[in-house]
């Protein structure tokens, strides 16, 4: 059936309108970041772009150090979570016991606990272990934070792998390690990749733990942005510039990886 021209035009206009509307806050933020503070409060589109705000933000805070911390703890947290989750999901998916299902759901429900509920114990543990304001501490907490979701997603991906193939591997002499490394991981690669991507995004954007457990040395971009929040609130341009710098890396990364992200999601949980 051929859609009428009118219908197609309507679809295109609606589609673009929705997209622009959803993107507007981000776009506006980027736009404002190129304004002077004077222009920023005028909500006007007529202005001369300037990098002044960026300059000021960079002069005030060591952006690169924050950004580096963000990259290290996000990647570290994700890798660590995957290292734990890959074998855990494997044993849950292929050697299930009567309690596996309950364990999995209980794990997910712990994710619903506000992190502040366990803040005090974690804080005390970290203080004892000397992990406060350390990247390792943050990596640990991020891995822990994302484990339930990572395990659950991997579990659903693993479930799609025909048991026969793993049994064939076992007949071929594969021990548990080769089975996971040579068969399971290559077979579920899209799923593992999208799980990792999701975990990476969640780590990057995490604000609670980073604010409470780090101060200067290991603080990631979420802390960086927090330092520009309330007291400087009215300096719209600087705020926008800082925000743009905090968001840009993960946004660009997200754009490039969204196809991969979607591919994994289609392959497992959704289909």
């Amino acid at each position: 059936m051929q859609d009428s021209l009118l219908q197609r035009v309507t679809t295109a206009i609606t589609g673009w309108a929705v997209a622009l509307l959803l993107f507007f806050p981000i776009g506006w933020m980027v736009l404002t970041s190129f304004k002077t503070e004077g222009d920023a409060v005028k909500s006007s589109l007529a202005f001369t772009p300037t990098l002044a705000s960026y300059g000021e933000v960079l002069a005030r805070a060591d952006y690169l150090s924050f950004a580096l911390n963000s990259v290290v703890v996000s990647v570290g947290g994700t890798v660590l979570a995957l290292l734990f989750a890959i074998p855990a999901a494997y044993s849950m998916a292929f050697h299930p016991t009567a309690r596996t299902r309950g364990t999995l759901l209980w794990m997910l429900s712990t994710k619903m606990l506000p992190p502040v509920g366990v803040l005090v114990p974690i804080y005390l543990l970290f203080r004892t272990a000397g992990l406060l304001d350390s990247r390792i501490g943050l990596v640990l907490i991020y891995a822990l934070m994302n484990l339930p979701i990572v395990v659950w997603m991997l579990f659903t991906f693993y479930k799609e792998v025909p048991n026969d193939i793993l049994e064939a591997g076992r007949m071929d002499g594969a021990r548990v390690f080769s089975e996971v490394w040579h068969l399971l991981l290559p077979l579920t690669m899209p799923g593992v990749a999208s799980t990792g991507l999701l975990s990476l995004i969640l780590c990057w954007n995490e604000a609670f733990w980073s604010l409470n457990l780090t101060s200067a040395g290991a603080a990631p971009l979420t802390t960086f942005i927090a330092s520009f929040s309330s007291p400087e609130g009215l300096f719209f341009a600087k705020l926008s510039a800082a925000s743009t710098m905090a968001v840009a890396p993960i946004l660009v990364f997200g754009w490039f990886s969204q196809r991969q992200l979607v591919r994994g999601l289609t392959f497992g949980a959704v289909k």
């Binding site: 193939i165 049994e167 076992r170 007949m171 071929d172 594969a174 077979l187």
Partner: protein, 367 residues
């Protein structure tokens, strides 16, 4: 290469016993087929031999060594799966060489063995393709190739042909027989298709509900079934089963009467049969003949003309339907009235518990 011994093997899933004590000897270089209806436990039994399912009780020996506790990789077996279970992310060459790679066999030797197996299976042109680019028959060959490369002590096949179309299945059957001869290997083959079992096996094991019903050569099972189940399961078209009553037990056999009163003498040892006992008379379709003087009368309902031979479906006097196998050149048509006679050699009698009375005539082809 290897012998295999099963001693009272049992398997429980929780309180459910699915393999209820199976004992069997597989000789070196023998091709043994496990056959039975779906759910009879034949695949479970194979997987227990493979090491993919734990053995609840009993003992499994390979070459006289107990292997219950060994993992699948350490038993020296190779298995071909129904779904082929090829590794989709590897090429044919990698698929076939995977076991050797895991065993850290040097690359050159690995390649040599894979090439050799590929030659036997005519897979050489496809070595660098991935499974998804192959046809069903080719995938099947790769699965077999993967087993050959390992030079296992015993080959296990789990319904390997059931995903192929009929023509290909026939072709692969011949190929498997050739392979068995060429490789000189001990093989265990699971199928639900009794034709496959008959054509491939040195020895058939008929399983039902987790128990062995009968073990023997294909023709043994065909001509001397020990019970109703085997008689009905082996042979196509199926054996005709008619309810009958014992009339007289004599030295030359058992005289039974069909429901219509027709008297037939079957050459079986009377054993403990008494006059008036209810029994089942079994006659193979080729054991019935069109004969104007025959004792059984009936009307032809349907003629299945297969060309070389024709199957007549005849409703006999007591209302039962029987299948009669006749020459393809015979011109008998539906709705004709016919009379049938019985070849005593093809007659079997089963008691109420389904056990066969011992045949008195020695069959030239059966043990």
């Amino acid at each position: 290469m290897a012998t295999l011994t099963l001693r009272d093997l049992r398997k429980n899933y929780g309180p459910m016993e699915v393999i209820k004590g199976v004992s069997l000897d597989v000789a070196d270089r023998e091709l043994v087929v496990f056959v039975g209806p779906s759910g009879c436990g034949k695949s479970t039994l194979l997987r227990m031999i493979a090491g993919l399912e734990a053995i609840t009780a009993g003992e499994l020996q390979i070459d006289g060594q107990r292997v219950n506790e060994l993992g699948p990789a350490d038993r020296g077996l190779a298995m071909v799966f129904q779904s082929y279970a090829l590794y989709p992310h590897m090429t044919v060459r990698q698929n076939m060489g995977f076991a050797l790679r895991l065993a850290r066999v040097p690359r050159a030797e690995r390649d040599r063995k894979v090439d050799e197996a590929a030659r036997i299976l005519q897979l050489e042109p496809y070595l660098d393709r991935r499974p998804k680019d192959l046809s069903g028959g080719q995938r099947q060959r790769v699965a077999i190739g993967r087993a050959i490369v390992r030079q296992p002590r015993v080959f296990l096949f789990d319904e390997p042909l059931s995903n192929l179309d009929a023509a290909l299945r026939g072709q692969m059957r011949i190929e498997l027989s050739r392979l068995h001869e060429e490789l000189n290997a001990t093989m265990i083959y699971v199928t639900h298709d009794q034709v496959e079992a008959m054509t491939l096996a040195d020895k058939i094991v008929v399983l039902q509900a987790g128990r062995v019903e009968q073990v023997g050569s294909p023709l043994d099972l065909y001509h001397r079934p020990e019970n109703l189940f085997v008689a009905g399961f082996i042979g196509s078209p199926q054996m005709n089963m008619l309810p009958a009553t014992v009339q007289e037990a004599g030295p030359s056999g058992l005289a039974v009467a069909l429901a219509s009163g027709t008297r037939i003498v079957a050459p079986v040892a009377a054993g403990s049969a008494n006059q008036g006992d209810s029994v089942t008379l079994g006659i193979r379709p080729e054991g019935l003949r069109l004969d104007p003087d025959g004792p059984i009368g009936g009307e032809v309902r349907l003629a299945e003309r297969l060309g070389g031979l024709t199957l007549l479906h005849v409703t006999i006097e007591d209302g039962r339907q029987v299948t009669v196998q006749i020459e393809g050149s015979d011109l008998t048509r539906p709705h004709e009235t016919v009379r049938l006679s019985v070849n005593p050699v093809a007659c079997h009698v089963f008691d109420q518990s389904g056990r066969a009375f011992t045949h008195l005539l020695k069959h030239s082809l059966a043990a």
